[in-house]
Symmetry: C4
Subunit: 497 residues, 4 copies
């Protein structure tokens, strides 16, 4: 790249149409005119910034190396003298002013006593669109809520008079010793919640000696996240499989080279979900589109914008190929019925994550914990219970949830959103405290259930009779809100005289 | 009819009593004095317009050919000079003003992301009486709500790692290829929601290549609806059987001649239901009737006013006669238990619709989806599962609902109210978008459940264990509202000194 | 009784202490000094009126012949010149003023479309204490609400294509032909709701050709109620058995002589229930009792005040004696488990009412309809199903409730509170309309379930799988209201600087 | 102890740092500098009172002999001239002013009709921190609420026509005759609710002839509570086992010597629970700790502060030792599954309390009543049902709850919080009335279920089919509050023009 004289804001501002579109990102200008039709998130969002500085919008949803990787070097126009770029007068958005007020009053970290508390704080202090992306789920968000509710249908049968002076929470996951049986599961777009993104989670995982699973759709670049890890800190890779298998191969090989110790192939997301809360939070006046009924494809939210590369053709036939390109243990993330757990064992993978993608994909998919309770008795009957490691994720908020999963046969559990919320509200300290709270809770609850270590947790310690009962599920909020309830008679009509 | 000089408003206004009653409809006067006692909707509603222009009230609940057909030509008094008719000063009805305000602020079509959203908008912008007619159901409206709630007790068991790059939503209904397995089911009085009435649905059905079922009680004339269909567009006929079988025969033969491809005989409505919300929305001061306890028969709502011709004597014995008068496939609409499905097969009909009439007839009738789940295992056991086509309707709001029905063995589902609401709020564009949303949802959810086409949907993909559990049903709103809950002690009584 | 000169208010007012206590009732003075300790309702309530006119308080809870019967003639002091009695200045009770306002706006009768509507109106227009007595039930009022809720766990399996042009609602109860299978069950203290009391129900029962059960604790005298009946109108007697069997015998013999056609012995009330809503509604400043913890026995509400004569020693051993003193059919009212139904058959009675006394006695007693569903299969297995007539009461509000009971094997159902509420709100016209609404509902619902007459109703028409499921019961309002829910963190503490 | 001249407030106030810390309690000064690091409740709370009068804070959570027992005599600095001690100006705490207002309006005792009423009053009039300690429970407080809810899933099958003129509520517990089958179970820190503490309960237990269980963590000294008992009044001892078995031995031997008739060893609390409501109610500005994520260990609430001595190593192996040091009957308090009941029988103890510690320890532990329903059928099958006495506690609020427990096989039930609330609101009179209300309720309900005495209560009188159904549990308040429900579309965006 030859040195160029600095561009000025005035110059860039001239290129502000779909036929001639420049944008500024991190102080450098790019000509994206030809790229416009290919942008996975649609042209519209780019055109909004045509001739302007797009950095703030760009950052959370693109790893920093995106432009390097995907835009031809010839379109890199070089540095801009940012003093010449007119800052858009931020309107006094009353919503934003309210949010700033809430931030000023946000609770002290010490006022958070459990993982729900972080979510409550995050809801108050996050930007609406970021909250919309993190908190949203598929359709009526039944499955998302069921994920946690399902744990409420499992009750304990504690043992008494066990010597629990010393309690050991540690276990081993894919050969790695960890201090407590959870890992930080992969979640996308960490910079929506915190300016530093996923590396915050890396540091907290290290402090508490748990594994972090690195997401394909991270805001940070993969290497940044690996670089943020401490010596010997174990990370796994979550993988969305690209239609272009060469790209996938490169990603996997690179991850293995960088030391990743597990490959978690997402199998519950051939297409990323419609999440209406996310879509609604991003809605803005569509202008001249008003008359048309054709606008379905707009405003699909962040999820679909960033996921068009995912291959819906991925199938069992691809598993041997994965085994051929890596020595990392391979796990299928998003298995949802016992039949497929058995298939996974037959396919020779090292593990499965029973998961519904945090309720973000197929609504009315069952919770991981319910699939686990369906799966283990069958595996035991077939003598297969030790053939693979079984993990679950979704809805874990209390150490009792972790203990229930382990009683039922899980090796460990993945936790995603709670750490995102803790990070969004309080940064590293929030995630640190969240993990510590789980440890404190778990140490006590191990004592109270009468177990000295996780190996002693067993099915006799839980009562799952009600787990499969879906007679009373999460509220159908939309249906309830549109229903016009019957009323008893009002006052008599007033005389018309 | 001889040409007459135009009548004047002053002249018409003189005939304003039950013994001499003229009304104006679409600019022409009619003498309805003798017809008064025969009016299915009662005399009162006509007398309200005695000597006046009744067009606005007349239109939504009478097909345009009604007066031609049912009022003797001698009573047709000819055109009125409408400039001489005094317009009733519309009172500044505060309720109507509020509604107009809501209309001005109604959401853009693009803000609707699912079928519930259209209902929410319709509730806000429709006239109270029209909303009352569409949204009301029998007694406590338990069944109406159960229709959708039942789907919430069915959970998915998705398959993973199926190649779902290409997903085909199409199927065949009574030999007709359709793009997605739903049809527009018959609903009465379309003009209450939209000035054009049912033809709006005709056009939308054509655009999305689905079948429309034409209702007996349409606001548009039957021929209008057929005429609105495109070349090759398939329509079915929903039939309320008249006490006078000759009329029924004429209707059926005419429908067949005009190309209808299916005859759906309604069997769940020997008498049309009492719908209290509808009745209450129409209540007006009954004046001198106040003292009497005899007023039960008034204000029965639109449903009963228009349905007095229906034959409550219809029975299994009539089925052979229907088979003798038409070559159209015959289906029974409103079958509600497996015993009657078997009887229907024995009677030689081509199909059944498991339905409770949208909850508008017998409250506590079970949902179509539950009857389906009861029926199919029995049919399979008897080897009868392929003898007829089985449809369900009631409560479908999401593509997941459609998929659940197909997994359980339905050929397709009927959707009624949601399209009425979309039409009432946004006209054709609303219905168009509603259908497109269902297609978008379904394409994604087929991928997520792991099915390439509807033939791959099967019972192993759903968990119906909780479907038959009615321990927690739709809220009993009236009972809850009249109950006076116990309270803890209030403050001490004030001293009387 | 010799003629006396009229007493004056001034004279009566002197006798205003517990050692010398006169009261005026219906314009006559009585010396109740010696009677004070025996008053079943306690001394306190009488002393409140010592030296004053007690008519308004006296009337609703004492039959008019009470003083004649229970107070020695020597204590009858003769007529008072009422012009000399000082009227107590009615304080401007703000609660009463509110009530009068609600009465002025009360809905027209025609605005009531179902039985719940009458209850809603009654709640608004009745005096708080009267409403408290009628609407209250035992403990947490769980059973009272369960009585109706239980019907919501029963669903229909309607038959189609049955010729239901003619529908016959009539049946026979204890040999009496009635127009619809309900009777007016016994409820106490009718004058609390309407100045005329139970005779209003007598007249309505006659108009609709149903049986009235006369309560022991009526506000009207027994003979008044019998006298109010039309020629040939059938009445039954509800009996609380007195500790003094001679009194009981006289009552039974008198009832038989006056033509009663059934004797319903209450067996679920050896002691009348504590009803806290009733007690709370009557609470007034206990004055000097404030310090004492001994006040449990006061303010027990109307129920216990009037019921001290009931014999808690009544047992199966008494049944033969009843059979010896009357030829009326004997029925046990309040049977609550199948074992006791069988005992009743063995004891030779003609019928039972499966009932929990409207939820007013033992909280968590099961609903009549659930006991019925438990009972009939056992009786059928033992071949006893036709040995007695089985009735249920409690919670019937819709004709669908009646139909469910008949499908399950009941001969008919008793309805109590709804008619009291209709009477309290609208007098005779209210009860008339309530009964007519039930007939209208039932005629339609018989058609919709596919039955021409009540004999065709059978167990295959209902789905009771969920009836026995008590996983989700009526709300525990007190527990919910005292629970202090966990909250997420509030704002950070304000700096103390 | 030699006589010293009185200290002055000025002198004491100089010793106000962690390196030199004096405090005043009950008019005497103590040097606690060296004791600071050992204080089970942490240094911080003491330092708040360094150089000041700590009596008010000290009293409720320390028995009066604490300083005598645990602080070396050399640190007892002798009496302080309290007239010289500056009273801290109580700030006009608006929360406290509100509370005083509520106290002024608190209901009369006669307005309390049931045990829930006392809780409602206590919630209004207690100090927030005291209420927080009494009312709080583990994690989401699911188990605490389930304890009472579980009773709502048990329904009665009453017998009729049993002679219940005389009803006897009495029974025998560990050989002691009591008037009604409940005992006052052990609860900590009675002085938080009432200045006199546990002795109030002692007196009430005597008046109603029931047993009191003396808590290890009482505010009163053990001997005070025993001294408060009347002649022949029976008391039991609840025991937290100390890591130092010598201390435990001394306590047990002393209790036996003082006449205790039962030793209840707590086995469900190897570590005292985290109770977030309690922690939150005590939260105050942590000042300079704000930045740190390490603050987990602060503000753990009263429970953990006072319980660090409890031995988490207690196990079945210790049972024989207990049998060797006392002749009192030994019972295990907190048994939670049938397997451990059988172990207890094998270990030769005299009884068990099926309990989850009032929901304060392991959340999602099952209710005592459910464990009872699991246990008794197994014991009966093994012929062990008479080998030990079985008690339950948790959630008893109504006499029907007691009756249900006895029907299912319990010997009696323990009641804790309700008496604390009655005491906190109304002192002795409150507890007296609470007990009397239970007696009144139970006498009536025994009549209504058809039992003359507690021996006649049996399993056929209850329907427990739904007890094990946990499909619908106590509300998950935190999860519900953080969930952001989907909404239907809002108004269209305003034009930006």
């Amino acid at each position: 790249m030859t040195v160029k004289t600095q561009l000025t804001g005035v110059e860039v501002a001239k290129h502000n149409s779909s036929s001639d579109c420049w944008v500024i990102v991190h102080g450098r200008a790019y000509d994206v005119t030809e790229f416009l039709p290919e942008h996975p998130g649609g042209q519209k969002i780019i055109l909004k910034y045509a001739g302007k500085d797009a950095t703030e919008e760009f950052d959370p949803i693109h790893p920093p190396d995106t432009l390097e990787k995907y835009l031809d070097k010839s379109k890199h126009l070089g540095p801009v003298d940012m003093t010449t770029v007119i800052k858009e007068a931020t309107e006094d958005d009353p919503e934003e002013l309210e949010r700033q007020k809430r931030i000023a009053e946000m609770p002290l970290l010490e006022q958070c006593y459990n993982l729900m508390d972080f979510e409550a704080v995050a809801k108050r202090v996050m930007k609406k669109t970021a909250w919309g992306y993190y908190s949203s789920a598929a359709d009526d968000e039944i499955t998302m809520r069921e994920n946690h509710s399902a744990f409420h249908r499992i009750w304990f049968r504690p043992q008494i008079l066990v010597d629990v002076e010393k309690v050991d929470l540690g276990t081993t996951m894919l050969g790695t010793k960890v201090d407590i049986p959870f890992y930080v599961t992969a979640t996308a777009l960490g910079k929506l919640g915190h300016v530093e993104g996923e590396v915050v989670l890396t540091r907290a995982a290290h402090k508490h000696n748990v594994v972090q699973m690195i997401p394909t759709l991270a805001s940070c670049a993969f290497d940044e996240i690996v670089d943020a890890a401490a010596d010997g800190q174990v990370q796994w890779l979550q993988l969305y499989v690209n239609k272009d298998r060469d790209i996938t191969k490169r990603i996997v090989e690179h991850a293995e080279k960088r030391g990743c110790k597990g490959l978690f192939i997402t199998v519950d997301a051939p297409q990323l979900g419609r999440r209406e809360k996310d879509m609604r939070s991003k809605f803005t006046d569509p202008g001249s589109n008003v008359q048309s009924g054709q606008a379905v494809e707009t405003n699909q939210g962040a999820a679909r914008a960033i996921s068009s590369f995912i291959d819906p053709g991925l199938s069992w036939k691809d598993v041997p190929w994965f085994r051929s390109i890596t020595k990392m243990p391979i796990l299928l993330k998003g298995v949802q019925r016992v039949e497929d757990v058995i298939k996974a064992i037959e396919a020779g993978v090292q593990g499965v994550v029973l998961s519904n993608h945090g309720g973000r994909q197929l609504d009315f998919a069952r919770s991981g914990i319910e699939i686990l309770a369906e799966t283990m008795p069958v595996l035991r009957q077939l003598g297969l219970e030790n053939k693979i490691e079984i993990y679950i994720d979704g809805g874990i908020r209390r150490s009792t949830d972790i203990i229930k999963a382990l009683c039922l046969g899980a090796k460990g559990v993945g936790i995603g959103r709670p750490f995102l919320y803790a990070m969004s509200a309080y940064g590293f300290n929030g995630v640190d405290r969240a993990m510590q709270l789980l440890k404190d809770e778990m140490e006590m609850n191990m004592r109270l259930i009468g177990a000295q270590n996780v190996d002693q947790l067993n099915p006799s310690m839980v009562d799952v009779k009600s787990l499969f009962n879906h007679g009373y599920g999460p509220a159908d909020n939309l249906a309830v809100s549109v229903y016009d309830p019957l009323v008893t008679p009002g006052p008599r009509p007033k005389s018309k005289l």
